[in-house]
Structure formats: C-alpha cells, structure tokens
C-alpha cells in the first residue's frame, strides 16, 4: 500500500464548464516515515488524472509539456502526518460533450506517489459537464478555422510534384490568361475599394501552464473587431481598429503605442488573392484612437494586464494584445490542445514573445475577411516572396 493517501476535493461538481473545471488533490502521509512526491510532475493533469465518461471510456487530456529539470528532481518530502495539495485547473477540453463523468488521481510511478504494482489512487469523484453556450456571433467568416490558425500544408499531387517549377509556371500562366479574360472580355476593372466591419468571437483554452503559472490555465474569450478595407487600386488590405481609451495617457505615450503596434504588424505580409494585384495586397494594420464608435475599449494603467488593459509606458506587450484584437490566439503553454512550450521564447513569434514580429497565421482573420470581401480565396505570403 502506498505511503501516501490521495483525496479529491471539488468545489462544484455539478454543471461544470470543462475548461474551468477545478479540482484539488490532497496528499496525506499516513505512514510513520517520510514520503516523497514530485509535485512538479504530479501537477501535469495528463500524467495523473484518470477521467472517464458515463460509459467508462477514457477521456483523453491534452499532452503534458516537455519535462524540465524540476520534473526529474527527487520531489518534495512529506513528513508523517503531513499533507500537501495540488490544484488542477482547465485540464478538460472545453468541447467536452455534456454529461456525467468521473475522475480520480492515479499515480503509478514513484515520483507520483505509487508504483506500477501498487499505484496511488484516490476515490472516484463524479461531476457533470453542462452544455456550452456560444458567445454572441460576429460576422461569419466562411472557412475560418476555430484555431489554432495556420495554413494547412496540402500535399502536392503527383503531377505537380513531378513537374516542380514547370507546374508553377503553368499555374501562373493559367492565372494570367484568366486575368486577361476577366479584364478585357468581362471588363473587370480592378478598381474596387470594399470595406466590411468584422466582429468575430474568439476563445481559447490555456492548459498545462507550468508551476508558478498555473493561474493561466483557463478559458478566455474576446471579440476581434476591426474595419477591413480591401483597396484594389492600391493593392492594400487595411485592418483598422478603433480604440477608445479610458484613463490618463500622454500624447507621447499614445504615439509610442501606435508606432510600436504599426511597426510590429505592418508591411510584413501580403495577401495573394487574384490577378488584380498579381504581386499581392500589402497588409496594413491601423490603430485609431477615437472618442466614440470604438471597436475596443482600452483602460490605461501602469502595466498591460490583458487586451483591454494596457500599461501607459509599455510598448512591447501592447503589440501582442493588438494581435488578439486581430483575432490571433496565444501561443504559449498549451492552447486549444496545441503545446507551444513556454512563453517569451527567443525565437517565438509575437503571440509567444511580444518582443518579436508576427507570423503569417496571425493574420488569418484578416485573410479570411479579405477573401469573403473579394470573393476569392487568399493566401498569406511574406512581403518579399512572390505570390
């Protein structure tokens, strides 16, 4: 029998929101000798929580992050009669269907308090998951993936793969001929300036936050709102976010925000949509400070705490928060089941490391909106690459 005893405590087991479901496991040493538990390792829900549905089928949890030195350390001693508790937050996928489930702690390794032959297990705790209610809908963007974004790499068919650059030439030639037909036979003028207000509800579930950052585990939601302008004559797509500020900020600080955001997001990528702009449409992001008619309200404070609260003197994290306004998701820890690793990695893009530039996938809502507006599919390309 393991030295430790594990007991599950759940504050509210009925009608839980999967992404917010929280439970605490209390470990008590009932023996007369010190016991050990690697709390870093035991904090990974996927390693220790056994979740089953009403038919006793296992519910798969998002994978744990890569082990670090603390995961491999001997662990913390628990004195006889002593106890410690671990809290698990947001380990269930928010898309978990409603119904009854049960969960238990199950550690079958010494670091987790048990062994293969004699695992440490708690009693089962039953809980019910409620039906999810969607956020108010924004403008439906056809083809927008719920996230994480990023163009799917489609495998090339055998013929294009065989022909290589020749195939690319054939495709461009076909495009050019079609373009010529459109412009000279069907009198397509390429002079459209189209605009559309975009309002897209976004949400993300962060999980697997490491020790010290568990509070990040949870489900978050916001609305990506902007005015999208597709300007064919100038081959430019503009995403204009009107922001109303609440609080005190100097004109210099406001200008610094604007400069930082526009430097981070502008002229890095282009949209390749159709032959009106054969070299692509430059993506321009514009933050406009207004007194009314805003897309977003930003409260000015001493530090940046989320998309709606920016630090007056901050010019780094605000660019990351602006990414949320464009619909981009976070890219640190595990987001919607995709593990990105720690935040602020030296090589991470802006949604991982706010000091770095964005990646093409961060413009996916802009791309999808432009495609809906122009009536063509669009792809995102580096501004220096050919379409």
């Amino acid at each position: 029998m393991p030295q430790l005893e594990a007991a599950i405590r759940v504050e509210k087991p009925e009608e839980v929101v999967p992404g917010e479901f929280t439970l605490t496991v209390v470990f008590t040493n009932r023996s007369s000798t010190p016991a050990s538990l690697n709390t870093h390792q035991a904090e990974h829900p996927a390693l220790v929580l056994d979740v089953r549905d009403a038919s006793d089928r296992p519910v798969l949890l998002p994978p744990p992050s890569a082990p670090d030195a603390a995961d491999l350390a001997p662990g913390e001693p628990i004195v006889p009669g002593g106890s410690l508790s671990l809290t698990y937050v947001g380990f269930l996928d928010r898309g978990l269907p409603p119904g009854e489930y049960r969960v238990r702690y199950f550690g079958e390794f010494p670091a987790l308090g048990g062994s293969r032959d004699d695992p440490l297990r708690s009693d089962w705790q039953t809980f019910t998951v409620r039906a999810q209610r969607d956020l108010p809908p924004g403008l439906a963007i056809p083809g927008l993936k719920p996230g994480p974004e990023g163009p799917e790499e489609k495998p090339l068919l055998p013929l294009p793969r065989l022909l290589g650059p020749v195939w690319l030439y054939v495709v461009r030639l076909r495009c050019w001929v079609w373009c010529l037909l459109l412009r000279w036979v069907f009198l397509r003028r390429c002079d459209r300036v189209l605009q559309q207000e975009i309002d897209q509800a976004r949400s993300e579930t962060i999980s697997d936050a490491p020790p010290g950052s568990e509070a990040w585990n949870g489900t978050y939601g916001w609305h990506a709102r902007f005015l999208l302008i597709a300007d064919e004559p100038n081959c430019r797509v503009t995403a204009r976010v009107r922001v109303r500020l609440v609080g005190t900020i100097t004109p210099a600080q406001r200008t610094a925000w604007e400069a930082a955001i526009e430097a981070a997001w502008n002229h890095r990528f282009k949209l390749c949509c159709d032959c009106c702009c054969p070299s692509g449409m430059d993506i321009v992001c514009d933050i406009e400070f207004v007194n009314s008619g805003e897309h977003q309200v930003v409260n000015v404070g001493t530090s940046t705490t989320n998309m709606s609260h920016w630090g007056a003197a901050d010019t780094i994290d605000v660019s990351h928060e602006f990414g949320h306004m464009l619909g981009a998701l976070d890219e640190y820890f595990t987001v919607n089941g995709v593990n990105y690793g720690s935040g602020r990695q030296p090589g991470g893009a802006i949604m991982n490391n706010p000091a770095n530039p964005p990646a093409a996938r961060h413009y996916d809502l802009v791309r999808a909106g432009a495609a809906a507006l122009l009536g063509h599919s669009c792809s995102t390309a580096d501004v220096g690459a050919s379409c």
Binding site: A209, G212, S213, A215, G218, N299, Y332, G343
Partner: protein
C-alpha cells in the same frame, strides 16, 4: 501557519456601461506566519476574477498577458493586505443583466503559498 483570506468589492453596484465597474480585491494574511506569494495571478483581471451571469454562465474575459519568465514574488506579513484593483474589468461587449464576480487567487510556485483562495461572490447590475 500560513492562512490567506480573500475579499472583493465592486463599485458601483449598478451602472449603464460595462467599463464603469471597478473591482477591488484584497488578499489578507490572516495566519501567524509571513507568506511568500506569487503575485502574477494578481496582475490581470483575467487571472484574478471569475464573472458569471444571472444564469450562472461564465463570462469569458480576454486572455491574460504572456506570463513573466520568473514569477514575481511578494511577501505578505502577518495581518498585511495585498490589494489589486481592476477598473473596467467587465468586457465592453457584455450585455445588460445581473452578474456576480468573485476573486480567485491560485497561488503556486516553489517555496510559495500554494492553493486556491476564493472570495465570496458580489453581485452587480449592468443596466440597459
């Protein structure tokens, strides 16, 4: 023994614009030992607050900022109070209705207070 208690107040109790509400959260050290706490969860309303509507449905807040590489540590002496204020915590797109908010501090980190401290929920009304 380290013991923390949470308290939350909302001002005003009624308003017509989501941005008019301000929450004040207080984390009291009510034990008889100094507490080392991870201050990161207090840095953002998205991390520290839980808002539900009249039907008990969670109101999702915008994502918190990218966490710092090293969690900020603060020391809370016996009887001391750490205050976090969040003006305009309610998202601008929140529809009118009655809501409840509570302060939820999830402490963690090596050598730091670890556990979940939750305040009682406070009701407020967003008028049309």
């Amino acid at each position: 023994m380290i013991e923390l208690a949470a308290r939350l107040t909302v001002e005003p109790a009624e308003a017509t614009a989501p941005g008019d509400f301000t929450v004040r959260c207080e984390l009291h050290n009510v034990g008889d030992e100094e507490a080392a706490i991870n201050a990161a969860p207090l840095s953002s309303p998205s991390l520290a607050l839980e808002v539900v509507d009249a039907a008990g449905e969670l109101v999702l807040l915008p994502p918190p900022p990218v966490p710092p590489a090293v969690p900020p540590v603060e020391r809370l002496g016996v009887g001391e109070v750490r205050v976090a204020e969040f003006p305009g915590f309610l998202p601008a797109w929140t529809p009118p209705g009655r809501y409840r908010v509570r302060f939820r501090y999830l402490g963690s980190g090596a050598g730091l207070f670890a556990g979940l401290i939750v305040s009682t929920a406070v009701e407020f009304t967003l008028r049309a």
